[in-house]
Symmetry: D2
Subunit: 335 residues, 4 copies
Amino acid sequence: MGCSYGENIRITVFGQSHSTAVGVTIDGIPAGERIDCDRLCAFLFRRSPGKGGLSSERKESDTPEFISGLVNGMTCGAPLTAIIQNEDARPGDYEELKNIPRPGHADLTAWIKYGEARDWRGGGYFSGRMTAPLCVAGGVCLQLLERKGIRIEARASKIAGAADPDDMERAIRAAKEEGDSVGGIVECVASGVPAGLGDPMFNGLENRISQIVFAIPAVKGIEFGEGFTAAGLRGSENNDEYLPGYNGIIFASNHCGGILGGISTGEPIVFRTAFKPTPSIGKKQRSVDLTTMEPVMLSVPGRHDACIVPRAVPVVEAAAAIAIYDSLLAIKLGK
Amino acid sequence: MGCSYGENIRITVFGQSHSTAVGVTIDGIPAGERIDCDRLCAFLFRRSPGKGGLSSERKESDTPEFISGLVNGMTCGAPLTAIIQNEDARPGDYEELKNIPRPGHADLTAWIKYGEARDWRGGGYFSGRMTAPLCVAGGVCLQLLERKGIRIEARASKIAGAADPDDMERAIRAAKEEGDSVGGIVECVASGVPAGLGDPMFNGLENRISQIVFAIPAVKGIEFGEGFTAAGLRGSENNDEYLPGYNGIIFASNHCGGILGGISTGEPIVFRTAFKPTPSIGKKQRSVDLTTMEPVMLSVPGRHDACIVPRAVPVVEAAAAIAIYDSLLAIKLGK
Amino acid sequence: MGCSYGENIRITVFGQSHSTAVGVTIDGIPAGERIDCDRLCAFLFRRSPGKGGLSSERKESDTPEFISGLVNGMTCGAPLTAIIQNEDARPGDYEELKNIPRPGHADLTAWIKYGEARDWRGGGYFSGRMTAPLCVAGGVCLQLLERKGIRIEARASKIAGAADPDDMERAIRAAKEEGDSVGGIVECVASGVPAGLGDPMFNGLENRISQIVFAIPAVKGIEFGEGFTAAGLRGSENNDEYLPGYNGIIFASNHCGGILGGISTGEPIVFRTAFKPTPSIGKKQRSVDLTTMEPVMLSVPGRHDACIVPRAVPVVEAAAAIAIYDSLLAIKLGK
Amino acid sequence: MGCSYGENIRITVFGQSHSTAVGVTIDGIPAGERIDCDRLCAFLFRRSPGKGGLSSERKESDTPEFISGLVNGMTCGAPLTAIIQNEDARPGDYEELKNIPRPGHADLTAWIKYGEARDWRGGGYFSGRMTAPLCVAGGVCLQLLERKGIRIEARASKIAGAADPDDMERAIRAAKEEGDSVGGIVECVASGVPAGLGDPMFNGLENRISQIVFAIPAVKGIEFGEGFTAAGLRGSENNDEYLPGYNGIIFASNHCGGILGGISTGEPIVFRTAFKPTPSIGKKQRSVDLTTMEPVMLSVPGRHDACIVPRAVPVVEAAAAIAIYDSLLAIKLGK
């Protein structure tokens, strides 16, 4: 069981890359919240494929249909369920891959775990396609957070080691031409988060955010504030000193990324996630035919991104929004 | 609420730095498992303070007492609870810190969240002391995993940027002399983990391990396999190719750290966690008196480690053991 | 949050009486289980309305569409989601009830809890309509249990105080003619349940079954084995003695209803649930207009059952099947 | 796993009848709540054994020691853990019962589930002794609820079929003299509960209360409001009509027991639980020796109550308090 997340809201993600539809149920949103479906679609559009020569050519309109929980555009207290039809599913594209696991994908582990019954078409439940319903839930949370003055913005801070946008695009293009792919780093900043969010020990903000961020395919690392850099600093360099301010205490710096002891400090929450290069590449790789156990050389066919990072940016925002909104509802449990 | 972790076992950690005792309850361990209490104590000794000039001078024998769940050294099916007395608690050491939050600690966020009622003595529930009961649970899981052929070993791979043990010790000593501290990186390897562990999406091994690892104070980052390095690689470099082997498929490399799609591949699970430098330092830092809101210069008194990393090594093993054992029990839910 | 249930499988029920669709997600069913959709439809037909003069005239074909989790009729390991379109929704029927809470319904408590944003159409999420997706989940579990030799059968043991089927029908008809309604008792027996299912304390079979059974609208009581009758017996009358048998111990009687200490004994699990009379009646009742706070006399219009018990029988089976299957998966967590 | 309960607070009960101690952890109580330990002890005294000729002669002072979570008598935000030493454990009393399961107890099911490793001494984790830590958690919740104007009071409404206190005592005494036991019914009323508590479907008040009430050994049934009686009523008799009142709507009656759709109406919450007669009786019963599988006649030795109902009264209050406080914290999750 892994399809649900959350303590104070609970999201449940269903569907597969080539099932009839993908979707999400969100339980626990207070009644009376207006959901702006146009803004939600605009948010989803940021992750949708088919927007340019550099991303996957799969075309999906990615319009969520709320089949429950919403009455006249407003939450009614019942769980909110939205589905997105899989319009442009072409499982045939994957027919030849049925028995040849793609290196770097979950094809092999899914086969080990579920056997012949697995949905091998396009990665099944492990597909990047599943980030669409995640973005529906995240997009809803972003709207709710915005009403509390909280904004979440992510950006590709590095692609293929390059920090400059021109260099990034050049690196993606070069990889694509060679039938290869590149990875990158997404930096996410949540501002306006009130101090005091997050619970200690296992449900701190770092625990909650990292649990959901690793639900995004291709994420292999996460760090908060100075993160791995802090491991090389002195305490006197990394500690954030306190100063008196007009409305309470001011942080002289934000090396901790807005979180101390799992709890928000009131400063911006800053984290970075590492995305590995897209595993689907045209370049030939060694694999094994699962039916014959013979070696084969595989060049992955079909539609895929030479770099997933640009499309992953809104997905990271969505994940952060869900985790932070979940923690926000918890903090209302007052005395 | 943040004191519990786990889907298939459930651990609950209680106590504070200077409460009567700290402890842990573990629910879900099958009946009939023998717990070797001597080995458990030996494991706990690795994280215990007071072993040398470089670590905290707090003396605790750290002997867990199983007050329930164990009959003649064997689990009986009831939840297992162990407590460790806080023998050498000296809350007086912290009296002067009551109203002066230590930079880099949770003192300030605990005050924001819980107000005057917080346990300010030695960090309360946010103290590194709470890793003792975490190690009790982890030490139990390590024994259970070993019986399945699974071994977990961590080591300090870097301290203060140095990978060489001599350099590490020199860096810690230098920091200590200057009233300062250093951080580092702990690398953890779990070998013998069968393929197929972990659930998709929110309960993959990366999600589960990262959720618990961030419960260790001072952890600010985690990466699996190539992690952040993978973000700079090409797909053709980072993908792990497959080869036919005598007993199934062999991985030509293990860049993915033994996890694909959240599910174990059968190769060793490899992850690294970044520890920030100990926030408690003798060097003067700016803080604010919470009662007067006046600025103060603080030199943290009391017992603390110039580098927490050596003592954190078994804690990382404990956290990994709990997460992996939790996933192991899940996989038995067969058809 | 109340839309999810289960520890080892997790079902999530969404939709409202007059939303686009109702549905359910089931996480945790092992991969490779065949779902017989025809049998599932036949099961759903037992609870569906519109079958005769005695039940509600709402017509719904109640055909579940599996939009995910099923590949060629077999579970693939991903969460299973089925939706049922609300074909015959006539929210207009309820327009006049928007501001007049029906006595005995959740109309008033939903208004108190969710305010104007509540879905007042036909009871919203509190409608008996929501037992359709519950029956989808239960029907799936029934099939899975049957493969383990477990059968669950419920029946109306009393309606309007009568135990004889003819008397029952007469009582329902009489009530209907008077614009009134009657309640009854459903007895459920699960046979073939292996000994050892259920966890102690809060997750025993009685705890798990009762938690889900009270999700069925109109249920106001549950008892296991002798239940309330046992309260009037002597220990020597109510205890079930043990006898040696060919294949282990035999129970001389089954007053405990197949459960001791929350754990199955191997004897049939027997429980009874009390259903209150349908609150929707034609007879005039006193209510209050929520907009004016003036008293009104209300005769509930629209389609409703004079006795819900016959249609509730499969719903009780469904609820029991989910709880028992959930406990069955837990027991596989072996040493 | 069954030792934990709750969505918004989380209680975890540990210990066995004859372990070193029994105890409970309560996570999620807001910081700054004062716990009156004297009142808590007085509450525990109501369930404690050894008070008279009619109850068990086991002597336990039942004084809870808070080993964490409490600073100067006030909750500090960390989980609250209290332990009670098992002072008067005499496991020797049970030696002869090791291999002879007592009819009506969980001895046999524990043996089936856990095998030789089970704690057979005095029922282990299935013992009525475990209601002591449950009462610690419940006693704390009762104090917190009282501050919100909520009072919970239970009473033995029937013992051995008798509603009159004199008849009750006579029946208990008669049974005791014959080496037998009697059961009874506990009625519980929670007044001052605000309207709007409880979540729909699986987390309504009836679901939450019944899940925890079945954690009390010997409970075999529960009903809310009219309960099983409602099954024999007409809708026009059972529905509670609404009247306009000075401060909102008034219920003309409370047949529903203060709960509609799982949500509190503002009227008193009323439920009754059926307790079977104490299974431990002196009268000879047939059992089987687990080592030889030979039939034996068993007269249960040791200390036990001829009727558990009087001591169960505060336990029912405790269970109700936990469930209602849990729901109360949920309702604060406002917009």
